[in-house]
Symmetry: C2
């Protein structure tokens, strides 16, 4: 019987000492569990993804030194095979590193394998730093009577042969291992867990290979890794799943004879629940971890949010409270002459429900002082869009005064619908270090607010906030629908135009049908074109926006790299 | 005798109709010149680089349609071979496109070639969208008695075999062509022209192959392509060079028998001047074109700049005037209580010299209104860094009021030294659509200012501005050197840390020696570490900064992709 530990850890990019310490802790626990093999995620030494740090000499030296330290660390927990991920120096033409897996025991490297399939799509850019490993680089290692073979993340995603000419799964199958170990750094979005299960179940069943998949967990700028490490048996059934959104070091038993994962009593593990989290609960947990890790890694313990009395800031506040605790979140309400009465009273109720401090800072006088300065300087009156934007910028400036004075992380409150069409003020409400709901369409913002109330079993976010018609309140009686189509319509168009083929199937069918139906009329076609133009025209705003936590298949940021000064095809 | 036209055009990303029109014009001129062959840059159909537009179905359809239109266009100028660049659909595993070259004549595609070497470093990311072309895809075409072979940009950069396993130059040499035609989209930075000459001279001499290199010209967001198309003879001598920073359609004569480029009298062309522009003149012309094209393509004819009386804004204004004309540039001076007397009077003299409008807008009252609001809301006094930042944000807000009201493009004035170490206020002086001098170190800012005065043969930028000690003027008697080392020191450290091995050799030696010397003392080592930490810690500001025009080998933006929430190796 092979005891094997899935060490789903939360490493920090570049923190090589810290990451080795995490691995050492997990290896000690593995030893207590009687393990012979402890498996860490892809690039566990550096965390995924260090980007151009890999090009810098001081970092390269730290990596080499880190590998030496790591070997020493394995001697502190002797007798156990450590399966680690690290950038590995190589010679010859091409990039300076492989994205490598090493099996180390008692200070000795027993096996090295270099990732063959390097993803270069969506948020991935591995060809920038790595050379693909040689084909037929697959080797097995005999551990406690089991022949174990290894792969790294993307290696496992081409068993249908659609994306690369090379198929590492077939290569593995040829060496007839008893067990496959896959190390991963797979960022999470809706549908991703199910997609992983589907891809690996299918490949494992086809090749009759049991597999352990160990994933990174944690937040890194806009990407969140959910963990959710899992094991698949040779029949393609998922028989183990680690916890999601948290470090989880769990030990399994594997019987090489029957090639099955077993429980303590020697019974085969039963398939796990196929359903995962609901979409809204998934969003909530992903965003909470994303904020926690971003704040922690940037040295913030507190956050501040401008509270408009609207749904976006309310949801952002509720999520910030869930992540950082009520005592660490401050809301600032900044009413102007156009703010409805409800905007302050709704903010007050919201903050009372959340148990957070609310500061009121009316901006009328400051706006007036700008208006008074404008005419003498520029010879005309401040009005229209410029006046609307000014109010947002005064608020953004006050929030930064607070952040600069008291050291709070400012969170921006824009949602994906607004950010898509540029319904936001650059250097105003876009200000902030991180956007929590910038990858949620407005219709999803409402749904998540209701979900959070449902979880709390109380009106945490007042229904008056959820039910009022969305308004920027930057002009008299302004409503979002004055300049935008209703969000139920806009969001379907946006899903189709921005995420298209990357949408999960249930959303894709719906959005495609919706847009196809729209395009049967002249008005509908004009509307779709207008939205496409708005998306393209506002690329410059998104380029200057803070990172938004990614929760969907295609988020703004590195997953969508568009030129600014270009002619869009609409 | 083969007549061949180098059509160095300035296409717009995604503007397929417009780009075909540009090609048609150039082909007509080629015909008048008696050419048999007109050569356009890499990706001339779409312009380089459309990025993720290539992933979008409407754009993919426009490309296919564009190729059909292009074939029709060649019939309008019959008898001429058009060498064009375009994304070409492909089937099978992998990316959906090749980065292709097509030779089209009278509506018929005579040859297709797919780029084999796809760069994935610095600003390049071609593996994201393209599959490499098959090896041994090289074919020749007989045109007017000459056997002509073809390559695309990066294909020509691996003749030493350092970067890729494949060497398209050797492949070409095997098919024994009389002439090689290379189509390119090679962005420009200091030393790049000389590097191109060196690489292609060496390869052409080694393989005894004459070559025509045709480059794109024009600005695309932060990248500027200088054109500077050239011809190399079989001895490795550069015997023709097109104009730089401007469209240039020029026709050469090539004698297939002697394999030489010739003039109208049948004499071999003599080698061109090896020296190019001075570094400062290069910067000036690159920035001017970069701004012109960015403004034009984004629909701006006018620009506005905050004029502090300091060197950065003065240089930005002078460059904006050179690009857009004095009548299209507005300066706004916004003195605070900390502004020196000189700041307004220097601004006034500068604007008088440049012939541009200067608007004065004192910010004291607005700053006071923020201060008065701060204490009652937040229970403490606005002071220190928060007060310093506030002034920059009030100015940034006023500039955006002006931009929103009158439709001017706001230019940000930060230089590379400041942007590196975060000596700037986010949502304040970083505001703007484009940064003109954000890739120039502060010491270079001074040099370029002097150069511009030298060109004008007058004190266009007042010497009082050039000679005053740099100050942000956000606190009493503040000087940059209060918190930063002198720029002569800082800039060498920054060059070493940020650009390192990418520096041109003359700068690399100097920066390395300077830093090595510093590191001989404890204080020196501590200083280098401190600067490295400042660079790393301010990544979040750069992530939200507007594009800066790239002039150096490694600029902030896509050329340096760093995580924010990470531990730097310092």
């Amino acid at each position: 019987m092979l005891r094997i530990t899935s060490a789903q850890i939360n490493p920090t990019i570049g923190d090589i000492d810290g990451n080795i310490a995490l691995m050492l802790d997990a290896a000690r626990q593995a030893r207590l569990d009687g393990s012979s093999l402890v498996v860490f995620p892809e690039m566990s030494l550096t965390a995924y993804y260090p980007g151009d740090m890999l090009d810098e000499r001081p970092f390269q030296q730290r990596v080499e030194e880190g590998i030496r330290q790591l070997k020493l660390a394995t001697r502190e927990v002797p007798g156990i095979h450590w399966v680690v991920g690290a950038p590995l120096r190589r010679d010859g033409p091409g990039k300076a590193f492989y994205n490598a897996l090493m099996v180390i025991k008692n200070g000795e490297v027993l096996l090295q394998y270099a990732k063959q399939l390097l993803p270069t799509y969506n948020v991935f850019d591995e060809r920038r730093h790595f050379e693909p490993g040689p084909e037929h680089g697959v080797r097995t290692l005999r551990i406690e009577g089991a022949r174990v073979a290894f792969m790294i993340c993307e290696d496992g995603w081409n068993d249908e042969g659609a994306d690369y000419l090379v198929n590492p799964f077939s290569q593995l199958a040829e060496v007839l291992p008893d067990l496959v170990v896959s190390i991963n750094a797979s960022p999470s979005n809706i549908g991703k867990r199910e997609q992983r299960h589907q891809v690996f179940s299918k490949a494992c069943a086809r090749h009759k290979l049991p597999l352990l998949y160990v994933n990174q967990v944690g937040g890194h700028d806009q990407l969140v890794y959910d963990g959710a490490s899992f094991a698949v048996d040779a029949g393609g059934r998922v028989v183990f799943e680690a916890q999601r959104f948290i470090q989880d070091v769990a030990t399994l038993s594997f019987d090489p004879m029957s090639q099955t994962f077993q429980d303590a009593q020697g019974n085969r593990l039963a398939p796990v629940q196929p359903e995962g989290l609901s979409t809204m609960e998934f969003y909530r947990r992903q965003i909470v971890l994303g904020l926690q890790d971003y704040a922690r890694r940037c040295g913030f313990s507190k956050a501040v949010v401008g509270s408009s009395g609207g749904i976006d800031s309310a949801l952002t506040l509720a999520l910030a409270v869930a992540a950082l605790g009520a005592e660490n979140v401050t809301a600032i309400t900044m009413p102007s002459r156009f703010s409805s009465e409800g905007s302050v009273s709704d903010s007050a109720r919201l903050c009372q429900n959340l148990g957070i401090e609310l500061v009121e800072y009316p901006i009328r006088d400051i706006v007036t002082s700008y208006e008074e300065g404008f005419a003498p300087a520029f010879g005309s009156t401040l009005q229209g869009l410029a006046l609307e934007n000014l109010q947002a910028r005064v608020r953004g400036t006050i929030l930064m005064e607070f952040s600069n004075t008291f050291g709070h992380l400012l969170l921006t409150t824009g949602n994906k619908s607004e950010v898509s069409v540029g319904y936001c003020t650059l250097y105003g409400d876009t200000n902030g270090g991180l956007g929590l709901i910038g990858d949620l369409y407005k219709t999803e913002v409402f749904a998540l607010a209701r979900h959070i109330n449902g979880l709390a079993n109380s009106e945490l976010i007042p229904v008056s906030i959820i039910e009022k018609p969305p308004s920027a309140e930057l002009a008299p009686d302004q409503k979002d629908t004055d300049s935008l189509p209703p969000y139920e319509v806009l969001d379907e168009i946006l899903k189709h135009l921005i995420e298209g083929d990357r949408l999960p199937s249930w959303e894709k069918e719906r959005a495609e049908a919706f847009v196809a139906n729209l395009q049967e009329s002249d008005e509908g076609r004009a509307l779709v074109r207008r939205v496409a133009r708005m998306i393209a025209r506002n690329e410059y705003k998104r380029r200057q926006a803070p990172p938004v936590l990614r929760v969907r298949p295609r988020a703004f940021g590195s997953g969508r790299q568009m030129p600014i000064a270009a002619v869009a095809a609409v």
